[in-house]
């Protein structure tokens, strides 16, 4: 015997037959199709619709008795899967959750039961047996959230006093000889062929020791000549050894109504037909005998039951949240993630994607560089991108700045920062993009014209400080040198990673700023080999790590690396003042911004993949042959590109102790005096910062006859 899941049967005295109810089983395709139907066909139409499911009698022990609905459920003419029995039902799809809640379920069930009872009394159900296995499906599809509420009902007519078991259920192989079992299987297969189907839901059986005969249900009168004891079979989706499945219930109501008073004993075959280990068997079918009470047509429609219990075993609806597999935004998100994960699964197993995806990026500048950096960040799955820019989109922008279109230029042009953020959300709704239309105060660009301009500058500084605090990486992507000064100071003070990109005509520099040691450890960590640049007053190079044989520019740890201003011996000033119009525009080869923007992001990603992050020792061109420090390769300090030669070099340089942006004295002044210090820088000429950092002294010492302001355009 197979294991008895329902436990030992109670004492035989007045045993009542109990049925295993259907469990609803829905395929994702069903919900997809319901969504399509609701959107395209039903719209606000709540009228009942005809749908189709099926059940199967070949499940292994332990599986619930299921009624399955798949994507084809809405097509009543769809082919039922081989060896399955179809079941036809009625779909009530409501427009609101309230309607779903308030619809009278009792009435729905009773209506269905009454129709079934009428079909039984009239004998119509004898010919049209699908009327015995009908179901109701009540749904509400919340297509904003992709939540589906549903409740199934499998209506069954009840016998007021139940059905008495005369002979306990036993396995077919215990009742039938092997020969009879084979004959039964053949008879069933023949019946299927006669009916032109691969499954027959109800059938009649006569058997002797050697033969088995089968006939369709509608042939009752001609098949059974005597009715003291009859044997009926039904296609049983249940796998319990002591209970028949639900489809039997309404068949018994039909038999009781049509022949109840004439029948003494009804033998029931629960026909189960499975393929296990590659071979077919029906031996585990179940046979039992019952005494059928009469169900007279005169006494009216019997009581009906059938609403399905929910997952908690309570009488209530179910809900399934399919936003992950149906919401287009969620689908886009998971596809983007999948694409990146494939990179990890296939090529770079140790890639830490979370580190990249969770990085919050602040893009200062939403021009040619900003647009290209943002797109590459999106490609890496970065979800938090913020733009700062004060410009409006002009007619010349869209061709070079891939986040803008012609329409954005009309009517004076939209603000770049907000337009860029909006476009990112259009490209990928999963991104958290914001734009701030604001100016960044600059050295040599006075803000003290009035109290109003001063307080505006102060607000801008505070806003920028806040933004830098809230982000992990700051990208400097502006078109002037001096606008990079303030964020360089703030980010250095807040120990944020800075990636800087700047363009010339056919040259570019992409670099990461040195990441200062945390303030607390600065004092402690003053061993000679790594004393900070502040302790050596005269040499601009500071004290290089004293590794024997290493050059000045190799193996520089991240905290000793320079910033954008470290290589300059003049303070940033107003570089736009004396320039002609063509000099004020970024004049560079169009491909350059894409190259530099992409490199800026890739530099950030490589830096994030390094175990020491921003403190990673700078890789140089010489390291190209060595074992790379990260799974993605080198982590250089700078990438300087020369488009005319299609060549890049990877220089590294030390922080300069007289740097006008990241030297200790500048940071100290900024940290102590805050805006007071900054406003002095904005309002003064070059000399203020140069005096402060000692550059003036340096100039005098070196007695340089003339120092050319090499380039305002950040090229080398």
């Amino acid at each position: 015997m197979t294991s008895d899941i329902s436990g030992a049967p109670p004492s035989a005295a007045d045993l009542k037959l109990q049925f295993a109810p259907f469990s609803s089983a829905l395929e994702a395709g069903f919900w997809h199709q319901l969504t399509q139907k609701k959107l395209n066909d039903y719209k606000l139409d709540e009228s009942p619709k005809c749908i189709k499911g099926y059940y199967y009698n070949g499940d292994p022990v332990g599986l619930p008795t299921r009624l399955t609905l798949e994507f084809s459920a809405f097509d009543v003419d769809a082919v039922t899967p081989a060896r399955c029995c179809p079941a036809v039902g009625t779909l009530y799809n409501t427009n609101t959750l309230d309607a779903f809640k308030n619809i009278d379920k009792r009435a729905l069930l009773e209506k269905e039961a009454k129709e079934m009872w009428n079909a039984i009394c009239s004998g119509a159900a004898l010919k049209e047996q699908s009327l015995l296995s009908r179901f109701i499906l009540l749904t509400f599809a919340d297509l904003k959230k992709y939540h589906f509420y549903y409740w199934f009902c499998f209506p069954a007519l009840c016998f007021p006093e139940g059905i008495k078991i005369i002979q306990q259920p036993s396995l077919l192989e215990a009742v039938f000889s092997p020969k009879q079992v084979i004959a039964l299987q053949e008879a069933y297969d023949d019946l299927c062929v006669t009916k032109g189907n691969t499954a027959v839901p109800y059938f009649l059986i006569k058997y002797t020791d050697h033969t088995v005969q089968m006939a369709p249900l509608e042939d009752w009168e001609s098949f059974f000549t005597m009715t003291k004891k009859v044997t009926v079979g039904f296609y049983d989706p249940c796998t319990l050894s002591q209970h028949p499945g639900w489809p039997l219930r309404n068949l018994l109501a039909l038999l009781a109504n049509q022949w109840g008073s004439k029948l003494d004993v009804v033998e029931v075959l629960c026909f189960r037909d499975r393929t296990l280990q590659g071979s077919r068997s029906i031996q585990h079918s179940v046979v039992f005998q019952i005494k059928l009470p009469g169900l007279s047509s005169n006494s009216g429609c019997p009581k009906s039951v059938g609403w399905e219990k929910n997952a908690k075993g309570a009488m209530g609806p179910r809900m399934v949240n399919l936003s992950e597999c149906m919401d287009p935004k969620r689908l886009a998100e998971s596809s983007v993630d999948l694409n990146l994960k494939l990179m990890r699964w296939r090529l770079v197993p140790s890639l830490d994607l979370d580190k990249v995806v969770s990085t919050k990026c602040l893009l200062l500048g939403a021009g040619t560089l900003g647009c290209n950096v943002a797109r590459t960040l999106m490609g890496w799955g970065v979800r938090h991108i913020t733009f700062v820019d004060n410009a409006k989109i002009s007619y010349s922008n869209p061709v070079r700045q891939p986040l803008y279109e012609f329409e954005d230029c009309l009517g004076g042009g939209k603000s770049k920062a907000t337009a860029a953020a909006e476009r990112l959300s259009k490209i990928f709704p999963g991104v958290n993009a914001k734009g701030y239309n604001m100016s960044i105060p600059m050295p040599g660009h006075p803000v003290n014209f009035s109290q109003a301009t001063l307080s505006l500058a102060q607000m801008d500084v505070e806003q920028l400080e806040k933004l830098i605090s809230e982000h992990d990486v700051v990208f400097l992507l502006m078109d002037t040198r001096e606008s990079r000064w303030l964020p360089t100071v703030i980010a250095a003070s807040k120990r944020k990673l800075v990636v800087n990109a700047a363009l010339g005509f056919d040259t570019f520099v992409v670099m990461r700023h040195g990441l200062k040691k945390p303030p607390a450890s600065r004092g402690v960590d003053s061993s000679p080999s790594c004393s900070s640049a502040s302790s050596s007053p005269s040499t601009p190079a500071g004290s290089a790590p004293s590794v024997p044989g290493s050059s000045l520019f190799s193996n520089i740890p991240g905290d000793k690396l320079g910033c954008y201003f470290c290589n300059d011996v003049v303070a940033p000033g107003d570089s736009t003042r004396d320039r002609t119009l063509d000099q004020q525009c970024t004049v560079s080869r169009p491909g350059l911004a894409m190259i530099a923007g992409a490199l800026a992001v890739e530099l950030m990603v490589s830096m994030l993949q390094h175990s020491e992050g921003g403190y990673a020792v700078a890789s140089s061109s010489d390291d190209r042959m060595n074992e790379p420090p990260t799974s993605l390769g080198l982590v250089p300090h700078q990438i300087r590109g020369f488009l005319s030669r299609f060549d890049n070099v990877l220089p590294a340089s030390l922080a300069f102790d007289k740097c006008t942006a990241c030297s200790p004295i500048v940071l100290d002044n900024y940290e102590k005096e805050g805006f007071d210090f900054l406003s002095k820088v904005f309002n003064s000429s070059h000399s203020f910062l140069e005096d402060l950092t000692g550059l003036t002294l340096l100039h005098q010492e070196t007695q340089a006859a003339e120092i050319w302001d090499m380039s305002d355009d950040e090229s080398i």
């Binding site: 609803s24 219930r249 590659g278 009488m315 209530g316 399934v320």
Partner: protein, 256 residues
């Protein structure tokens, strides 16, 4: 078949044999032709009862954790409370007045049932079959990769995860364009080689697809019966043995 791979023609022939046998015993395999091409794949759906501890998490764990989003039970109650769907309200209790004594008690729910859909495709790059699959709950909600890993038997899980590429990964289905899980074929040639060699030494014919499936299938719950493997007619003897077209006749199995 000098090495561990199989060409596309042989793949299709093996599939035909497998289908024929499956149609005979009702094993559930079908051939899904891709519209507008000769290509297609073998498909089978299967219900698996998975022990509760290896199934989709049902209880709410740490808030904000990954499991939160799988937790449809929690969502359900939360949603119902929020929306005012109250299981105890009368309108939702159609059977409340009369308890049905004709229903047998449901077996204790120490396991839950998942629907698995398996596809066997041919990979031109690896020249081997590839097993794609997806899984969902009976409510129709798809399982995530994490959920799927949980359903893998612990004995297999270790073996699969210790490979250089986590062997179960997600990938777009080449024909359907939807996200499927699949067993990476990079090792297929490696384990098929000795198997084919042995068969050759013993002068035995082997159905490549069937033998391959008997190795990879069980890892993700797809058992291949011993009975099936023993079936002689499943193993090709001569190339011209069968000329059943893949499309058409086999698509809609009618025979019993």
């Amino acid at each position: 078949m000098s090495c561990g791979v199989v060409d596309e023609e042989e793949f299709c022939r093996c599939c035909r044999l497998l289908l024929q046998h499956s149609n005979g015993v009702g094993d559930g395999w079908s051939w899904e032709a891709v519209r507008g091409s000769d290509e297609g794949y073998l498909k089978k759906t299967l219900l698996r009862s998975v022990p509760a501890e290896r199934s989709v998490p049902q209880k709410h764990k740490e808030p904000g954790s990954d499991s939160e989003k799988f937790d449809y039970c929690h969502l359900q109650t939360e949603e119902q409370e929020k929306q005012g769907v109250d299981a105890s309200s009368d309108s939702l209790r159609p059977d409340a007045e009369e308890e049905d004594d004709g229903v047998c008690g449901a077996p204790a729910g120490s396991s839950s049932v998942l629907q698995f859909e398996y596809h066997i495709l041919y990979s031109c790059s690896y020249r081997t079959p590839v097993l794609y699959f997806r899984a969902s709950t009976l409510e129709g909600r798809s399982l995530t990769l994490e959920d799927v890993w949980r359903t893998v038997h612990p004995n297999y899980r270790l073996g699969l995860q210790s490979r250089p590429l986590d062997a179960i990964t997600q990938q777009e289905h080449p024909f359907l364009g939807q996200a499927f899980f699949y067993l990476h074929p990079c090792r297929t040639e490696e384990f098929m080689k000795p198997l084919l060699q042995m068969a050759r030494d013993q002068n035995r014919q082997v159905n490549y697809v069937l033998s391959w499936l008997s190795v990879v299938g069980p890892m993700v719950g797809l058992e291949v019966s011993l009975e099936c493997l023993k079936q002689q007619q499943l193993h090709p003897t001569t190339p011209q043995q069968l000329r059943v077209p893949l499309r058409g006749s086999i698509q809609q199995p009618k025979t019993l």
